[in-house]
Amino acid sequence: MNKSRRSFLKVAGLSAFALSSGVAALSSTAQAAATMPGSSYKMGAAALKAKRWAMVIDTRAFKGPEDYQPLIDACHKAHNVPTIKGSNQNIKWFWLDKFDHAFPDDINAYQAAGIKERMFPLLCNHCTNPPCVRVCPTQATYQMHDGIVAMDYHRCIGCRFCMAGCPYGARSFNFMDPRKHLPKEMPNPTFPTRMIGVVEKCTFCAERLAVGQMPACVEAAGGRILFGDLDDPNSDVRHALAENYSIRRKPNLGTQPGVYYLI
């Protein structure tokens, strides 16, 4: 290599390093200044805690789709989820579908009519190995220490990789301003809405757990849905799983769903 070219590259490299480290140092001091000395963060005293939140739905205790309606209403009301009727752009956090669609690994032409025709409640599975988290380029979707797969809508750029990644159709995209489809009086004025261009889904009611409340759908189910710590052998969910036959959606994908169905 030409001598002058070599020295030019050396100087250029050194200056790039000096500049970028200087900028990094500056920005980190700026960040430090933004934190008030002496302040800190903690969980609320009433917060419900678990190592791995999970849900067990006793589908045998629901007679038909109308039995699930109060649960859907409770969820969608608590989270200002709009209903966009007759459109494939509807937003769903908690919805119903047939066995063949919900559990396509187990398609059986001679399935008992009671199973075949029954509607099953579906929501985000809060997978142990969530593909949506792996594909999200902005970390707008992430997994928390208690197993909840949560979203920070502030960061979502609407690329919809997560929708392609999720094998359960648990995510909805806001093709339009969701407020257009919500009543003027917000169903829940203490919870935000979302905006056009972001993806949304069930949160396992992290905001309710934080203040000591069970998820809205669990509360509305009156004991037919259990919610608890999968890591605790004495929890309700573990007892229910130990005593009943349960299935999960698409188990062969290895995502390890956290929502179990008693059938």
Binding site: M43, Y142, M144, D152, Y153, K184, M186, P189, M195, A210
Partner: protein, 126 residues
């Protein structure tokens, strides 16, 4: 210099255009701090007013990350007082006059944050 005339004229035009905002605003009124309407029933914000004025956006970012990612939804202020982390339910409970508090200052400073496309202001849906 080759083509000196054109170059110098060009350089002068560029200098004038580049500094035009400065000349256009020369002698105009100084920036006046907008008269925001402070909450009536509450005297104490989560942190001292100088800090809130300069850093509230940084604090809100930290609140967001702590609440949404670490599930730490309680802020212990520098004075030891505890606050529930929520723009909509804590900040806006006291600062309930959006048009005369948030918006007034944001407009005066030409910043247009889009908090309210999702967070609901006390006035409700806009």
């Amino acid at each position: 210099m080759y083509n000196a005339k054109a170059v110098i004229v060009g350089a002068v035009i560029f200098a004038v255009l580049f500094s035009s905002p400065f000349w256009l605003n020369f002698g105009k009124d100084d920036y006046k701090r907008p008269d925001v309407v402070l909450p009536k029933n509450e005297k104490e914000c989560v942190e001292p007013v100088e800090y809130m004025r300069a850093e509230h956006m940084a604090l809100l970012n930290q609140w967001r990350d702590q609440a949404l990612r670490n599930e730490k939804r309680v802020y212990v202020s520098s004075t030891g007082k505890e606050w529930t982390i929520s723009l909509q339910n804590t900040c806006l409970k006291c600062h309930n006059d959006y048009a005369n508090f948030c918006e007034k200052c944001h407009i005066a400073n030409s910043v247009y944050p889009y908090c309210w496309t999702c967070h609901i202001t006390p006035e409700g849906k806009k």
